[in-house]
């Protein structure tokens, strides 16, 4: 993969929190890269600093040491666990939120957002308020809101965790196919091993705090890449699952 264009280069990243009780070393010396068009998952025990890593890449937190290099204009789109659609805005106005904040060329942004709404079946719901949509539809609207600012890199922070299991499988399939279709690079943080294996090209396993890289898996299926739901049927799926499960090393 090293021949491909690098989209994100994380070098020697470290983050230490300061609190009244003392210092908390969340991340220690993390280095990895994500190629253009790749789907990478970061997985690890809960509280290991996975979400912190995404916040740093998104520029919401400054690292204590190390650096992050983003290719191109470095624009990112952030998707959180909850869809965080604003209940006081219609779906269309929610989708336009990023463009409004970034400013400049609102007309072009509107056209692009409208085309996304049409392509992904939300056009007829454009004037609805989020409360009138199902959980899956809302998550789709949240993705379109993220895509509407034309990000080069998508960051998904436990993006499906708030949904019930059946919806979650369907929405993961749905969101995955949209991300692939739009040719976006994506980094997903999750605690769900099956989700990571079924969606990703590569899975990065982190240790518990302070987080360092435990292992990296290239996810390859002999039968070729299919939809996340179908991937779960492949013979390799169980092997990857078991390996990662061992790496995470959960103690109850």
């Amino acid at each position: 993969m090293s021949e491909q264009n690098i989209m994100v280069q994380v070098s020697n990243l470290a983050l230490t929190y300061q609190s009244a009780e003392g210092e908390i070393e969340a991340i220690r010396d993390l280095s990895f890269s994500v190629a253009d068009g790749e789907f990478v998952s970061v997985i690890g025990p809960s509280g290991c600093g996975k979400s912190t890593l995404l916040s740093i890449i998104a520029g919401l937190l400054s690292p204590t040491a190390g650096e992050i290099r983003l290719a191109g204009d470095g624009s990112i789109g952030y998707m959180l666990q909850k869809d965080s659609l604003f209940p006081w805005r219609t779906i269309r106005r929610n989708v336009l939120l990023g463009a409004e904040i970034k400013g400049g060329g609102l007309r072009a942004a509107e056209e692009y957002a409208d085309s996304l709404l049409k392509t992904y079946g939300l056009w007829e719901f454009r004037d609805c308020f989020p409360g009138q949509l199902s959980g899956g539809m809302r998550q789709r609207a949240a993705l379109i809101r993220t895509l509407a600012v034309r990000p080069q890199l998508l960051l998904l922070d436990e993006a499906f965790s708030a949904l019930d299991y059946q919806t979650r499988l369907a929405v993961a399939d749905d969101i995955y196919s949209i991300i692939r279709r739009e040719g976006k690079t994506a980094m997903m943080v999750t605690h769900d091993i099956s989700e990571a294996v079924s969606l990703s090209d590569r899975v990065i396993v982190l240790t518990k705090r302070p987080a360092v890289i435990k292992s990296i898996y290239d996810i390859r299926f002999a039968a070729g890449r299919k939809s996340p739901l179908q991937c779960r049927e492949e013979p390799e799926f169980r092997e990857y699952f078991n390996q990662i499960w061992r790496d995470i090393d959960v103690h109850v």
Binding site: A58, S84, W88, T90, L97, I101, K102
Partner: protein, 273 residues
């Protein structure tokens, strides 16, 4: 919820009939309670069980109200009081929200002023009434300031609390789009807290009534509060009761108006932001 089409089942007809009967029962009991109490009051006064000179009676205070209307005094007192109340709760809510915004914008200011707000909140603001009257003169301005002072501190605390508990993820989201502090305020914090501000407005209506009536007791120039005090001083209980009845009707009307506005604003949640 799926509604079954076609013929209505006998169970449903029975359920609907039972529900209609229940509603009718509650409604007639509501009206009956008021009518019964008024009737009891009136008959007790007529039979001499109670002394209408001290307790007044429905027919006597109704006469007082009609008398006030015919002399044109009712509108004068009513408009004075209503104006003061509206100024009090609007001022309290608007000023309270503005101060809450300032405190949200500056965590430093917030931490410095916190103990002062706590003490001011605990203080019975009515105690400041005489001070306001000395400073601002015995007129409507002092009354409005008394009403405002009662609602202001609670509004600040209430609205600030709402601001501080705004959904973290929504804030993180607009920040990831590159919004600064002002952007977060205008796009998330204020619209997300419209329900909080409106509920604080609703509470302030009640507070403002208390402030205005107490202010009119103290200043005794005009208004429904003045009528109550004046009536009691000249021992005209009919006038006192008439004022209290008018007060309760006007206060209830105002409350329902505010509630209606609140529902309108929150139903069309698209207008803000």
């Amino acid at each position: 919820m799926s509604m079954s089409e076609g013929p209505v089942s006998p169970e449903r007809t029975a359920w609907l009939r039972r529900r209609r009967r229940d509603r009718l029962l509650v409604r007639s009991a509501k009206i009956g309670l008021l009518a019964g109490l008024l009737l009891l009051w009136e008959t007790a006064a007529r039979w001499g069980t109670i002394d209408p000179f001290i307790t007044s009676s429905p027919s006597r205070f109704t006469g007082s109200i009609l008398n006030l209307i015919s002399r044109g005094e009712l509108w004068q007192h009513l408009s004075v009081t209503t104006f003061e109340v509206v100024c009090g709760f609007l001022g309290g809510t608007v000023l309270g929200t503005l101060i809450a915004v300032a405190l949200w914008c500056s965590p430093f200011l917030c931490r410095v002023l916190e103990p002062y707000l706590v003490v001011l909140n605990a203080l019975p603001k009515i105690a400041l009434g005489p001070i306001f009257i000395v400073w601002l003169g015995a007129g409507p301005l002092a009354i409005i300031v008394i009403a405002l002072s009662i609602s202001l501190v609670v509004s600040i605390l209430e609205v600030l609390n709402g601001f501080l508990s705004t959904d973290r993820d929504m804030i993180r989201l607009v920040e990831s789009f590159g919004a600064g502090r002002l952007g977060v305020l205008c796009r998330v914090v204020l619209p997300a807290n419209l329900p909080t501000i409106l509920s604080s407005l609703k509470i302030n209506v009640g507070m403002s009534w208390v402030g205005v009536i107490v202010g009119e007791f103290l200043i005794s120039r005009a208004g429904l509060g003045y009528l109550v005090v004046y009536g009691s001083q000249v021992f005209q209980l009919d006038l006192v009761m008439a004022s209290v009845v008018i007060l309760s009707v006007v206060a209830a009307c105002m409350y329902f108006c505010i509630q209606w506005i609140e529902q309108r604003l929150l139903r069309r949640r698209g207008v803000n932001g």
